[in-house]
Symmetry: C2
Subunit: 329 residues, 2 copies
């Protein structure tokens, strides 16, 4: 029976319609091939091909060899060399697209993905995220740093070798602003962080929790938009990813390894996006009400006319069922 739900933070509506998952199709969408060898000659991110990328910005090393590398995006969405004219017309507002766009090469090994990496690989990726975040957020003109990952073509990736991206933006993005405002409103009303309240309520309910350890909770949001959508969130109230400690980082890496492993066992090697939401620069007034987190959005189906035209999403897997499957393995 279809059920309409509303996200407690963003107010987004989703229709949980399990029956729709069973509809037949005469249209094909072919799967991409299985991951190949550890080294691919034409891959600019493979070991030995370092000269194929623009000059390196940053790296994490182990015994004099890189384990992660950071390079400028060769085809940046934003650039410090941009010099369009700003325009403040009533209808046609535009702004110079200044910013930074970096690629984080997550591993030396072309055959690795978040589905088969070790805890230590996750630690190195997260350390690189933290380094780049802190470096970029302190640049002039930058208000927000978006760290995200696209896995497979359907999720927007253009290269196969496991990588993430950091985009440093000259503005606070709308979705983050919406979360900031909504959680502040809740805080003003109830004197509590809405994310803390969700965590507590979810732990009590125990229907949508995948992992609950000392530092992090992994849960399927009540109004999940995507099949098997998950959120990783620190249990303690923390407004920003930038202050994550070494120990927390290690715990986060363990949760991530565990959760990708479980996802892989249930839905295979699937396309997904992952991104961090954290307090923007200069937004200290939201410190008590905002709570940083990571979202994982599997791209198993395609948004269609209803989603694009109305902002109402259809999800054919109830988050409770997703969690049942992720627990029972």
């Amino acid at each position: 029976m279809p059920e309409l739900r509303k996200d407690p933070v963003t107010g987004k509506h989703v229709i949980i319609a399990i029956e729709r998952g069973k509809r037949p199709s005469d249209l094909k969408e072919t799967n991409e091939e299985i991951k190949p060898k550890s080294y691919v000659e034409t891959c600019p991110f493979c070991v030995g091909n370092e000269e194929k990328t623009p000059p390196e910005i940053d790296r994490i090393e182990n015994e004099n060899e890189w384990v992660t590398r950071v390079v400028p995006n060769k085809f940046p969405a934003l650039s410090m060399e941009s010099e369009c004219e700003d325009s403040n017309q009533r209808l046609f507002w535009k702004k110079n697209g200044v910013g930074y766009h970096e690629v984080i090469i997550e591993t030396r090994d072309h055959s690795k993905s978040l589905f088969n990496m070790e805890v230590n690989d996750f630690v190195n990726i997260l350390k690189t995220y933290k380094k780049r975040y802190n470096e970029l957020i302190n640049k002039d003109e930058i208000k927000y740093v978006s760290i995200f990952k696209n896995y497979k073509k359907k999720a927007g990736a253009s290269l196969e070798h496991s990588h993430s991206q950091a985009i440093a933006l000259p503005l606070v993005p709308n979705l983050v602003k919406e979360e900031l405002e909504a959680s502040k409103k809740y805080f003003e009303k109830y004197k509590r962080c809405i994310f803390c309240d969700i965590i507590n309520e979810e732990i009590k309910d125990d229907k949508r929790i995948v992992i609950n350890d000392d530092h992090f909770v992994v849960l399927a949001p009540f109004a999940s938009i995507y099949n098997y959508e998950l959120m990783i969130i620190p249990k303690a109230h923390q407004h920003s990813f930038k202050d994550i400690t070494e120990n927390e980082l290690k715990m986060l890496a363990e949760s991530m390894k565990e959760v990708f492993n479980r996802l892989n066992k249930v839905i295979g090697d699937f396309p997904f996006n992952m991104y961090i939401h954290t307090l923007p620069k200069g937004m200290e007034k939201y410190k008590k009400s905002y709570h940083w987190h990571i979202e994982i959005s599997p791209r198993l189906s395609n948004h269609a006319g209803l989603e694009l035209g109305s902002g109402i999403y259809i999800n054919t897997v109830a988050p409770e069922d997703a969690v049942k499957n992720l627990r029972n393995i």
Copy 2:
């Protein structure tokens, strides 16, 4: 040079980044096959297979034969038989998913699509849209009727035979509410409809107009999110699709035929969504400030982590370039 733009109505940000369109890829996404024959035995929407659909709700006829048919969706996103419990908890709001979900079979001919139909086919489709809209909007509990089309798998279609859908909703969708509020705010400030102002400004500029006839304008929005995104909008101030006249409907059909023909010549047989935005029931106070329109969103690339995580979109084709190409054929 990347350029940041903001949509005048919704406030959505888009980065126009032409250079990014040139990036190479080692990931494949296979194209779907070319449209087949006029009749497909297994297709529930083909002539002669009428018993494969649930009982017909509506049709348009010509010489005793149907030209369009309307049937209930076999796998509805919403249903009048739904009977979940409503819940008004502070964090976990949910509502019974009541509503209607219909399929509009647009043609008898399996090989037809909006890319090769005649004006008369468009007239029949639009007449069916209007009939279903007016029937559904008057039902109890219904606040909004979303009429939309998904073409090809990547745009969310599961069946190949050309069809649209109507979903009657028990609430006003967020995206429509946002447009209503934003245009009202503009009206209060400037005493004018923002859409009327955009139309006039665009006609004056003449950089983003594809078609400009007596009744309708087809334009590429200033802050287009999708490559070759288009909007079809009546030139006169009209708040609702439901009152469209026979003559306007004919003119709209001509514009649509023309625009899909041009799109086809420039970008081929591509996946897209199309949907109507119109004034919801009982919202007469927005009559002067809201202006109905149709949006066409080609799905040539995939939204990725930046879009999902921040609500900032990257578009690799400037709307001005799209229009240049659509005009020069």
